[in-house]
């Protein structure tokens, strides 16, 4: 048999070989920061349960320069997560009205409106 198909193995750094895979990897990496921030919140809840002094200590800790730097990093990735997540919503949840697809921009737009509303409510609740 003269056939000898050549199999190319995918390389471990495949995600560096095209800009869209790099963008994908960054998107996936947002989860690391979302996760770390969740851990921070969980610690906060523990400190809250432990009483006034513990809570104040927690607030001081996350307001410290390292805490702030860490959270800035988290914020950048969290926003990237939001933007990419919203951008994909029309694909996952397309809407049909009267037999015509609702434009994707409208679905994405609705998510941005929701984002703004949720953020406003949280800010107000936090006392802004």
């Amino acid at each position: 048999m003269s056939r000898r198909p050549y199999v190319r193995k995918i390389e471990r750094n495949w995600w560096l070989q095209h800009p869209r895979y790099v963008a994908y990897m960054i998107r996936e990496l947002t989860s690391l920061f979302v996760g770390l921030y969740c851990a921070l919140l969980a610690i906060g809840l523990v400190r809250l349960a432990q009483g006034h002094a513990a809570w104040d200590g927690f607030v001081a800790a996350f307001s410290s320069p390292p805490g702030v730097v860490f959270q800035w990093l988290c914020l950048v990735f969290a926003i990237y997560h939001s933007v990419t997540w919203f951008a994909l919503t029309p694909k996952a949840m397309p809407l049909m009205v009267k037999g015509e697809p609702v434009p994707g921009k409208l679905i994405v737009g609705a998510h941005y409106v929701a984002w703004a509303a949720v953020s406003a409510v949280v800010l107000m609740a936090a006392g802004v």
């Binding site: 003269s2 056939r3 000898r4 198909p5 050549y6 199999v7 190319r8 995918i10 495949w14 995600w15 070989q17 095209h18 869209r20 895979y21 994908y24 996936e28 994909l88 029309p90 694909k91 996952a92 949840m93 397309p94 049909m96 009267k98 037999g99 015509e100 697809p101």
Partner: protein, 247 residues
């Protein structure tokens, strides 16, 4: 001297080559030529031993998918004018074994395609004498986009999950299953779920979205897969709550 353009084509002849290597060809530059025209020029005038697939030259038969400058494309729909002044690198599609030169082995795709039962499984059989199944334009619109797949497998070449797991059913096949699941005449979703909603089906997808970016027919397999994930999850929940009542 008239203008030329250089193509770097990946060659692999299993009877003589131990591994693939690039070969350069210089062809005339024409504004309205596509990469396939350049390959045909090579085949007819420079090197008859170059092998590749093609037929319709109008982006509908799906034969001539290749990797062109790192991008999966139909070579009959990729114009030289977009690469003017540069070198065009032509390789076989990624994630498939190379049979020879630009020809890939398609067996796995053909198996995956038939695996998802891509045919109409009517909700209710009726004889031809009863005429057509009625389907409004709106009902047609729901799945029409997913009927446009030409099986060119560019999406398989673009999808890293296909590369990482050769058993992944993959974008085109899953989109086709979705096409039938959405058809108002069809009742076969449960039958297709065995493959579609298996671990090697939709759940291998991490929504990279590359499949949809390279799709020459705007089928958007990524969308089909995410929608199937949602609907499969709903079905799973229903099964959990009322076991045996569905399917």
């Amino acid at each position: 001297m008239s203008e030329t353009i250089t193509l770097e084509v990946l060659r692999y002849r299993p009877e003589t080559d131990s591994e693939p290597h690039f070969q350069r060809y210089t062809v005339p530059y024409r504004d309205d030529w596509v990469v396939l025209d350049a390959l045909n020029h090579i085949k007819d005038n420079l090197d008859a031993t170059l092998s590749y697939r093609w037929s319709c030259h109008m982006a509908v038969c799906g034969s001539c998918g290749m990797t062109i400058n790192n991008e999966p494309k139909l070579s009959c729909h990729t114009f030289l004018r977009d690469y003017r002044g540069g070198v065009i690198r032509v390789e076989p599609l990624d994630h498939f074994p190379i049979e020879r030169d630009l020809v890939i082995v398609m067996d796995s795709f053909m198996e995956k395609l038939s695996g998802v039962k891509p045919w109409l499984i009517p909700k209710q059989e009726k004889p031809l004498s009863d005429g057509e199944y009625l389907q409004s334009p709106a009902e047609l619109n729901v799945f029409h986009q997913y009927t446009q797949c030409i099986n060119c497998v560019l999406c398989y070449a673009a999808c890293p999950q296909v590369g990482l797991n050769e058993d992944f059913v993959g974008p085109a096949a899953l989109a086709l299953a979705h096409r039938y699941n959405l058809d108002s005449r069809d009742g076969g979703k449960g039958a297709r779920a065995d493959v579609v909603a298996s671990n090697e089906g939709i759940w291998e997808c991490t929504f990279v979205g590359a499949c949809s970016q390279v799709c020459p027919k705007q089928v958007d397999p990524a969308a089909a897969i995410q929608q199937t994930k949602i609907s499969a999850s709903v079905d799973w929940l229903k099964d959990l709550l009322t076991p045996g009542a569905h399917r």
